[in-house]
């Protein structure tokens, strides 16, 4: 009971520290991400248009007060599609980071902590996956499983858990020799307690920072696959798919491509601002 209460106090103070400190660019990044997430959630209140409703009477209209980002070749409001598209693309980024981060962290922790044969076997698997070019492997897996969002998540997870595993393994191997970990062993704690309570909280920061840049990459990969027709299927609003659908009108209606393209750039930028800020904070908290 007491221990549980202490933990929540510790966690809250860490969260508070994450929100209340940091560089200006980190705070701007957090603010911008919060705004993007809110805009995606409250999209129906921001725009009156349905992102998939066709209106053949107003196709390829340039930006105006009625349609801030113009309309595409099927008369759909581009602004509405960008807003609703954020729901899909942010989800691709979030799930594409969270699941591999979870799997990779646990596997890397086990490999680094136990070493020896466990590490050798896991290390070889990681080497094999890393040896393939990232995008080629994702496309190959999705092509094999068939197009769709779920298969995209499976492909992203299969390919990117190894990166997290490698980061966490390296950190764990360094920390294993630290005296507080020796002390934990000396105190007779179980392996899982040492790994998850004493090593994990001190190794997770670099993986988290990497996850932020991976988030941007996953959004881009999701868009790329949709562009190739392997990811999200029409008429779902998704930024990569929007670019793919409008590419034949590039010269006559560039707004239909610029808007989703800019959205990808902005999200990538915002997330990497947060990643940089987190890296600074992690150094500060560890005092390393």
């Amino acid at each position: 009971m007491t221990a549980g209460a202490e933990q929540t106090v510790a966690r809250r103070s860490l969260l508070q520290r994450l929100l209340s400190t940091g560089t200006l660019s980190y705070r701007l990044g957090l603010l911008a991400l919060a705004m993007i997430v809110l805009a995606a959630i409250f999209a129906p209140f921001i725009t009156p248009y349905d992102p998939i409703a066709l209106d053949m009477t107003s196709t390829l209209h340039p930006p105006s007060f009625v349609h801030p980002f113009g309309t595409d070749h099927l008369g759909r409001d581009v602004f509405a599609r960008v807003l609703y598209g954020a729901r899909i693309d942010l989800q691709i980024g979030a799930i594409g980071v969270a699941v591999p981060l979870l799997i990779g962290t646990v596997v890397g922790l086990i490999a680094g902590y136990f070493g020896g044969w466990t590490d050798a076997v896991i290390g070889r698997v990681v080497d094999v996956v890393i040896a393939f070019p990232f995008l080629v492997l994702v496309i190959a897996i999705v092509a094999m499983l068939g197009p769709g969002l779920l298969n995209l998540y499976i492909a992203l997870t299969l390919v990117s858990w190894v990166l997290y595993a490698r980061i966490v393994r390296g950190e764990t191997m360094a920390l294993k020799r630290r005296e507080y970990v020796l002390a934990a062993r000396n105190l007779g704690f179980s392996h899982s307690r040492i790994m998850f309570r004493h090593i994990l909280p001190n190794t997770i920061a670099p993986a988290f920072v990497f996850g932020m840049s991976d988030f941007a990459l996953d959004v881009q990969v999701g868009a790329t696959l949709s562009f190739f027709g392997l990811g999200v299927q029409p008429p779902t609003p998704e930024w990569g798919l929007m670019i793919a659908e409008s590419r034949t009108f590039l010269l006559t209606a560039p707004w239909a491509i610029i808007a989703p393209g800019a959205a990808i750039v902005v999200v990538s930028l915002v997330v990497s601002l947060i990643g940089d800020g987190l890296a600074d904070l992690a150094r500060g908290i560890d005092g390393r």
Partner: protein, 278 residues
Amino acid sequence: MSSPLLSVEGISKTYQPGRSFLERRSIARPSLIDVSLALDKGDILGVVGESGSGKTTLARCIAMLEHPDTGRVMLNGEDLVTMPGSRLRARRRLIQTVFQDPYASLNPRLTVGSALAEVMLVHRLETKQGVRAKVMELLAQVGLPASAFDAYPNAFSGGQRQRICIARALAAQPDILIADEPVSSLDVSIQAQVVNLLLDLRDRLGLAVLFISHDLQLIDFIAPRIIVMLAGEVVETIPDGVPIQDAKHAYTRSLLEAIPSLDHIFRAETNPTRRETR
């Protein structure tokens, strides 16, 4: 004759250098060669030697943080070296270590209170209701304020951190405390406080203490019995009651001579005899 609390019998340890294929296997120098010692309740045994003489390896082998290649570590008549992992884990708390670097010895993400409470809860030495009071008692025992409970290690100085480490070791209610150069990274003024704390705890709790240091004068002050190590071997054992100045081995003599002293200036007044520790 009953067996002592701890008896280390002929332990040796060689660290195998990492072997990569292509690289020829190099021959490792042993870190510990056939070391034996015995320790009873309330004893203080000093271990002295230069860097790389195997003092820390000895400490880690006794605490079973390293597995000795040969020999036995007998605790209450049970051999820890051959004991299966699950039983060993329950015995580990009986031998506690205070490490050299107080800045690396505490998990930066655990408050002092939760780090201490964890030890007692894991070993079921205390109930969840009673653990807070017990932690406060430990903090008072090592001379830390009650406010330390909710603080993180980064709020403390080296000397204070070492007190926290001692409190954490005591939380496990050990029989044996291994102090592996516990004061060598501290200021001289703080060293005395931490050493006195250790001596005081020995007296109050009847702990057996294995005190490791490269500082001959400090060891001489603390420990009635001293073993001198060189290149992994015990080269001399100085029994209780024998002044360290009477050491016979050439290496010990050279260590003694290396102590900077003002004796030649104050020869008239000073009379270097060993102080009593009790």
